[in-house]
Symmetry: C2
Subunit: 195 residues, 2 copies
DNA sequence: GTCTATATAGGGATAGAC
DNA sequence: GTCTATCCCTATATAGAC
């Protein structure tokens, strides 16, 4: 299978440039407040040209969502598949740390446009992605697991997202290796799994 | 001093009802995707009536922001004022837990509309609120504090927000008292302050 | 693949009656 | 305090030329 992100591929090059600019603008200004005219302007061509590459504005957002889904969350499928013990959950969170560090911009986009992305998700629920977020919610809600453990799972998850995404660009001066080590330590402290 | 949230008070009653509906719709649909017509419809009157109570749509969002600012974040001023040692930071986070538990809906609104709220903030930077978020960023970025401690501060902050807000309505069946106890424990584990 | 021009719709906001 | 009617603007999206 090829790597076509969501729809039939056309030019490839300018398509990706559109996505890069959209990623930036959607993140700083928000999805709705960003107009296609603005994106086009930044790329040096006109608004209508975008419609050659994407059939709608929403499709641009969807493609960005799929970027994360493809090379981001795919790696998380394994660790989350089984019923989670604390050690398995820790393994999952280790992966999450790596993914966030590698695709931070995409995570920030998602964090800052949750309403728009939820709408997307509701409209296309028949589609190919069976949703990591639902699986997370299920894990946190699983009544077979005792409350303390569920809170620890959710908190450790939140510590990573909160510390690396919610909080903005603090730690920009710190290397990914250092951050990975630090956040693994935190995860261990929360999950009370040995270092 | 009276309790006027942001502008001159007029009716009070319907003003608050507008805010309640707006809080709900802004949260589930997002600020931009919610129209004033929709808010008015839910209240049984017409769009124009809203303009008697608020001078603009943005002002509704601002009033909701001020709600949190007033009876939410006011309580956090004390613990954050001094230069933070781990124990002081823990005290601050204890307060934060209480605030989130008490005003969860407002926190979720903020989490789901960060772009719109940032725009608000940029436009009104001359105004009365000298911004908790900037102080947080400053604390996390303070180069006088060693990296590990800053990561712990940010992570503990993220654990609370992530575990109670980001993650949605899991734990809705759990009492606030239980949650408070659980999250205090987590904070202690992350900050390595004694139980 | 990109352009100009245009169709169409919806939203925020105001005026003025009641 | 709430209404109807309207203004105005911006945005997405399409048609068709180049």
């Amino acid at each position: 299978m090829s790597t076509s992100p969501s729809l039939e591929r056309t030019s490839g090059d300018t398509r990706d440039r559109i996505l890069d600019i959209a990623l930036e603008l959607f993140t700083v200004k928000g999805y709705e407040k960003t107009s296609l005219r603005e994106i086009a302007e930044r790329l040096g061509f006109s608004k209508a040209a975008i419609y050659y590459h994407f059939k709608s504005k929403e499709d641009i957002l969807f493609a960005l969502h799929m970027r994360l889904h493809a090379f981001g969350l795919g790696a998380l499928d394994g660790p989350l598949s089984t019923n989670n013990s604390p050690t398995e959950w820790t393994a999952f969170l280790y992966q999450l740390i790596d993914q966030v560090l590698e695709h931070r911009a995409l995570f920030i986009l998602h964090e800052r446009n949750r309403a728009a992305l939820d709408a997307l998700h509701n409209e296309r629920h028949g589609a190919e992605h069976d949703d990591l977020e639902a699986r997370l919610q299920a894990a946190f809600s699983d009544q077979k697991v005792k409350l303390e453990d569920r809170v620890r799972m959710a908190s450790a998850f939140g510590a990573i997202l909160g510390g690396l995404v919610l909080v903005g660009n603090v730690f920009a001066d710190t290397s990914s290796d250092d951050l990975r080590a630090q956040f693994r330590m935190i995860v261990n402290d929360i999950m009370r799994t040995g270092a």
